[in-house]
Amino acid sequence: MSSSCKPDGAEADQMRLECEAPLLEVRGLVKRFGALVVTDQVSLSVRPGELHALIGPNGAGKSCLIGQISGELRPDEGEVHFRGQRVDDLAVPERARRGLARAYQVPRLFGSLTPAANAAVAEISRVRSGFRFWRRAATDPALAAAARIALDRVGLGRALAPDPADTGAVRPASLLAHGDKRLLELAMGFASDPALLLLDEPLAGLGPADSAAMVALLRSLKGRYGILLVEHDVEAVFALADRISVLVGGRVIASGPAAQIRTDPRVRAAYLGESE
């Protein structure tokens, strides 16, 4: 994927995006399960601050691609470069420590811990204080402050941070409403202050109100982090994305700015035609 600068006509912002070295670069990724090729020569990149959306029908291989970038799945061929370094051989935690965070399609939370404690664990991870055996986590002001910021970022702070006057109100994450779980999942992704966030279908299963809130949230976070967003909600994607890649049957069939993708005949045929 070339990233040559085309100053003519492009906005300054867009220019900055295109000229900067990519944060994430995936080259020729291939993943097979037996005879099934779920990722077929996929190459794509995400620049700093860019929101790159990945769309495609069910079973197109989007989650598998995310998994290979985060390190949970091992590709059969190809390379993953992050911040200019090859990270193929690194395990998930090591990639995460380098700033590659992930939010899951199905929220993965620490179910028995309160939302604040969930975020506190993220902070413990960030500052590497996991081997402090004596300092109480629940009363550590540094953790509480970080947790508050993390929850505030997704709008959960007021609702779910521990209120000293009423401890009975703090529920473990496993008992949260679905929309709140999604928001907390997102908060956990951002809590480590990553350079790149891989977001797998953050809108899935949300009602219209929650959905609108999530889109607004993503828009507010856009630009601060590189984001690779997998999403079925095409309207949301067109509203948010700087760039869109379309994945069908494991292949990227088109990639470019939203306007170009919207009119691309192959995309319309393969994908948009069905859902619009």
């Binding site: 985060s70 949970e72 395990a91 998930v92 935690p93 090591e94 995460a96 420590r97 965070a101 992930r102 899951y104 993965r108 939370l109 620490f110 179910g111 028995s112 811990l113 309160t114 404690a117 969930n118 506190a120 664990v121 993220a122 413990i124 991870s125 960030r126 204080s129 996991g130 081997f131 402090r132 055996f133 004596w134 300092r135 109480r136 986590a137 629940a138 550590d140 953790l143 401890t167 009975g168 703090v170 529920r171 473990p172 956990m188 809590a191 480590s192």
Partner: protein, 315 residues
Amino acid sequence: MQPESNLASRRLAIALGLLLAIALVVPLLGQPYYTRLVARMAIFGIAALSLDLLVGYAGLVSFGHAAFFGIGVYCAGLLPMLGVQQVWVIVPVAMLVAGLYGALSGLISLRASGLYFIFITLAFAEIVFYIAQGLRMLGGDDGFRLPAPTLLPGGASLANPVVLAYTMLGALVLAVWFARRLSESHFGQVVVAARDNETRLRAMGLSAYPYRLVLYTIASALCALAGVGFANLVEYASPASMSWIVSGEFLFMVILGSAATIIGPVLGAVVFVGLEQILSALTEHWLFWLGIILVLRVLLLRQGLYGLLTGRGQR
């Protein structure tokens, strides 16, 4: 942590205070049987709470915890043969040996999970069991009588039931306090997080393995402390103290009381020891009834004693 209503924690605090008061008074009555019973409860309380760190907080179901108990027993039996009786040597040595074996075996067992973890911990305990059984100069399968009891600074002997009971009660209180602090620390939060969702923890940049290994080592060492007490209680060391049955009994105590509560497993140990005494006084075949109770606990009493006491459900 789940919310606890004030009333429930008051009830719990009162029950615990009463229990501790009884335990403190009983040795003064001059009835060696009951004094030793208190010591026994305290000893198994320590063992059960050390296992709770693994089972409850880390979700690691170890079926080989008796190995570390047995290591404590054998250290308390062997060191006097070398002329060492002081508690401040015996306990650290026992904890060090157990911790070392915990760390080394944990290095391998913690690579496995679920069912494999249960069985591999059992296997590592069997290895220690067969080592003890194979030491023919130490009586092999029969074990050996403690040549001399462990001595406190100042010369008080743990062979004296009253001294033993108070020492082990003190150790138990310390252990409870230590375990609570540990479980509430940054480290404890990571361990619980790894139990709840290891995938998420990894995606945040932490691998669960080193934390589990450290916890496994700590729990192993703590259990050896209980073993030293047990050797002094029965004045005997034998492979039976590390058999798989004992590992199963430890698990029973943890679950009887309800896991991940520290206090629950201590209560479980108290009730288990009490049950053992009452049942064996009633019938020669008390093990039959113990087995039945164990089955009923799993099938019917879903939340454990701690849950009954606080009205709080188990996870």
